[in-house]
Amino acid sequence: MSTTTTSEAHTAHAEEHHELGFIRTYIFSTDHKMIARQFLFTGLLFLLLGGALAVLIRWQLGFPGQPLPGGGILPETMAPGGIILPEFYNSLVTMHATFMVFFALMPLMAGVFGNLLIPLQIGADDMAFPRLNMASFWITPVAGFMMLASFFVEGGAAGAGWTSYAPLSASGEWTGVYLGQQLWLASLIVLGFSSITGAINYVSTVINMRAPGMTWFRIPLATWSLFITAWLLLLAIPILTGGLILLLLDQTIGTAFFRPEGSGEPLLWQHIFWFFGHPEVYILILPAMGFVSEVIACRSRKPIFGYHSMVVALVSIAFLGWVVWGHHMFQSGMNPLLGMTFVVTTVVIAVPSAIKTFNWMGTLWRGDIHYDTPLLHAVSFVALFIIGGLSGIFMASAPVDIYIHDTYFIVAHLHYVLVGGSLFGIFAGITFWYPKMFGRMMNEGLGKVHWALSFVFYNLAFFPMHNLGVQGMMRRIYDPNQYEYLQSLQPTNTFISINVFIFAAVQVIFAFNFLWSLKKGKVAGNNPWKSNTLLWTTPSPPPHGNFPEMPIVYRGPYEYSSPEVEEDYYPQDRPPPQSSSGGHTVEAPNPEPVPGD
């Protein structure tokens, strides 16, 4: 039975929708747009939680041993009298990263935008497997609940770092944490299924459900990046799942995969984790790169510079990402010769990221740049990703890494790419696609204030972390003042903490803007940004089934300021004008790609 969607099927589809009650429409929905909203709601909540944990970490580092204002509400096992305990601090650094990576960034990037953008940008009525999609969402809150629960069990939450190195993580005897670590492992095993099923949907949908004329090189870069990300998820997450299972067995039934007392290999865990972990970090950045491409092209009213190169760069990053994992393990005791091969692959992967950065700059060059909130966030992504990428060069050199590994230099790097990069990319995506999701614009004034304050305080907070690392401050240290040589860094740590607090507080503006605009924002109309993609041809928000008739695509997505039309945009589905020589400009359903697409 073919899955071609004809007008008839659409109408039947839409009628069926009217009969669905509240539960089927809002709770157990199979509509990709509702699932996107569910991921948005969940992702933002976990972002808030992850941020709260970060504030606690920074309280301890900025004001060590001081009682946290209002900290009396925390239980005695975590922070008696509001003073954070060392074991709780270890849980904080672990859980902050865990919630941010797995429960905030991944759902926000892949869950929200994969679901929202893919069908709408390629001209499909929904995902290939809508019910699987629904399951894919619901796994996330279940796994999230397990992870949250781990705070409240005896021994507290996992405290072995988000990287969970064995043997520290393989047996509770080393940390005093038993059930908490097991819940951590089990939660991530469960969560993996959300990513895998989501990836199956994204890959199948992009391959099989593109509207006529939507050839591979007419697909918008946001969908391209989500498609590539889906492949990475599909192939990397199962590796982690295998490793998590082995570690959970070590923790529970007494196997010794990673425990040396039973001839287990601690380094095996590191290899498994980072073989997953490196593709994972590209999973965390590639979608944001896609959003940034869309926003910069659209708001500069200019074709993306080097579209084909951008696609090749995405694919290169995805391939190379599999062979660099050892750079996380330079100092691990791994064979040094093997280490050198990872130096080479690691420096090479810098190149496609550089190519993308130059292409974004090339898009801005001679553009007609509109300073909208999404554009400001997108350009901030580029500026901050440059810093994150350049700091990576230091650690790519294995000898220099001897000094900076496991210091705050690494913490600076990872936050520049994940916050400066991914989070600002998410802000660009939310502010850009909010009108399509909710039918209303977010407030521009509030948006710009949020952006400016975030940008300033983010940099004030995180840039000095490079310096802390250069002066030798280690990671995951409850109280650096134990070390005489670090005592002079306390003022810097306090400075960073204050700026983190302000940065966190500034996010209230975003939250307010988001919620207020749901009801009071300016009505958006179909295409407030005057973008070319099929997504913007639909009403805001789109109806069930998205397109009344399957659209036909005539050109690439970045025909801005084209000389062929008077307006500065040329939607993908607008037929070309009839030529005076008599009508052979209409293209067949499977047209050859035209140079310049």
Binding site: L168, Q331, L364, V400, G472, Y478
Partner: protein, 226 residues
Amino acid sequence: MNFSWLLPETVSTFGPALDDLYYVILWITGIVFFATEITLVVFMVKYRHREGRKAEYIHGSNKAEVIWTVIPFVIVMGLAFYSKALWDEIRDPDRIPPDSFPINVMASQFEWNATYAGADGQFGTSDDFVSRNLLHIPVDRPVVVYLEAEDVIHSFFLPDFRVKQDAVPGMMTPVWFQATRTGEFTLACAELCGLGHYTMDGRVVVDSEADFQSWLDSQQAEEDSD
């Protein structure tokens, strides 16, 4: 407050080479940083929307793609190549000087225990002695630490020497270095190892030959009298 990109003083023989590599990278990334960020700001200002101006309809430039692929590639490969010599010198077990003074260091939750071979120069004999959280080493002589861990992964970090090596239970990893001046320096743990990770503060004392010998003798005497 410290916002310095300058490395603290180094007291080991491969410290200068490592620091040089760091500074080369700092220069290159610094230049790229300023060039790109300034260009970004210039573009944002120069090409901002103004009435009557239209964007240029251009899809890209193959020439530009080639240039900004090849040049970064050459630079990064150069860096990789430049890194190899120093990496081999520090990490290749065959390059450890054969006359290095040996010390067995066992990392555990939450202390460092350094075993010295004693006067007979053999480990595992009755004249061995253990020094807790304190290493004494001679200046201007290579030292090799045979690093092990008892329980979980720790990391032997001597910031002033630019030395860092993970101590993995079940593995023995040699790490060598040579001090260039006397003094007292930090030994830190650089891998999360549990609740006392932040307390694993040890000291490395670099002695003149004479002082080192007298320290060895005094530890020997203490050991004998136990």
